[in-house]
């Protein structure tokens, strides 16, 4: 009986110590927020532009990011774009932040066949 009580005390004490350490290291755990939808709308809007296909085929992630941001639909979020070819070759950057949302479109090429996936991340 004594042992069980000591175990309980040690668990409680251990959890207090670990919580204290977690708070000290500023580690915050939180569930992802709800999908905002702006990323998908912005990507769909940019996808309709004639230059999108040319930028995607050229793996110009910076150009696509500028095109997406020019739509004005991602205000309040940071934006990053990644373009990946079929073989796994990628251009662009992955998102930072604590919450990130991904939307992607598949592009078959620009006149000739050169498939790639364009992924837009919006994050905070």
């Amino acid at each position: 009986m004594k042992g069980a009580w000591r175990t309980f005390e040690a668990i409680a004490g251990g959890m207090l110590v670990l919580m204290f350490l977690a708070a000290l290291m500023s580690v915050r755990y939180q569930a992802p927020q709800a999908e905002p939808g702006q990323g998908r709308s912005a990507l769909a809007s940019a996808f309709g532009e004639p230059e999108f296909r040319e930028l995607a085929s050229g793996m110009n992630a910076t150009g696509i990011r500028a095109l997406v941001e020019s739509r004005g639909l991602t205000a309040g979020y940071n934006v990053s774009v990644r373009v990946c070819r079929q073989g796994g070759q990628c251009a662009g950057s992955l998102p930072g932040g604590e919450n990130a949302w991904a939307s992607s479109v598949l592009v078959s090429g620009d006149g000739s066949y050169s498939p790639c996936e364009v992924t837009l991340y919006i994050y905070r």
Partner: protein, 180 residues
Amino acid sequence: MKGQYFIIGSLLICILLFFGFPPEVAVRSGSSDDLDFLASGLASEFPRALNAGINSSSPAAVLGNFTVFSRQAALARGINLTCLWLVFERHGASMNVSAGNYMGHPVTVGINLSGAYAAVYAGADAVNSTAIGISGYWSNLTVAVGQESAQGALLHNKTSVYASFYVTRGDDTVRIEILA
């Protein structure tokens, strides 16, 4: 001495509890709308892939490659993509039909062009072809697979594609068909 074992054991239990928390930033890509987004994107991109295939004189091979690419991209997001497509290319008085089966199991596709009928068997992840006699400028197209069928008007003077996509995650499925 006994107490030390209790303390060590309890510390191990505490550490196990904390292992349940994710150490990295979570990237969320799942919601019900993204299935529609993927399906409509494929519907608009498939005819472009067909055009790219026509430019390289291998529409069926290009569509097959684009299907595999799309399926891998979807799978990376936890989405299962299956599809069946037909490419119609005119050769003189007949229409060559290539059937690409990416449904995950063998299928027999029944194709009716204004009364002229052919059945194409295609194994899983395979393309098979047949030819159907045609006359005039267009045909009433009926495509039948199992209990399902689709209809449309098929122009003879252009290479066309019919495709049926199933985009699935868990219990949610979006189906979309195109004839272009």
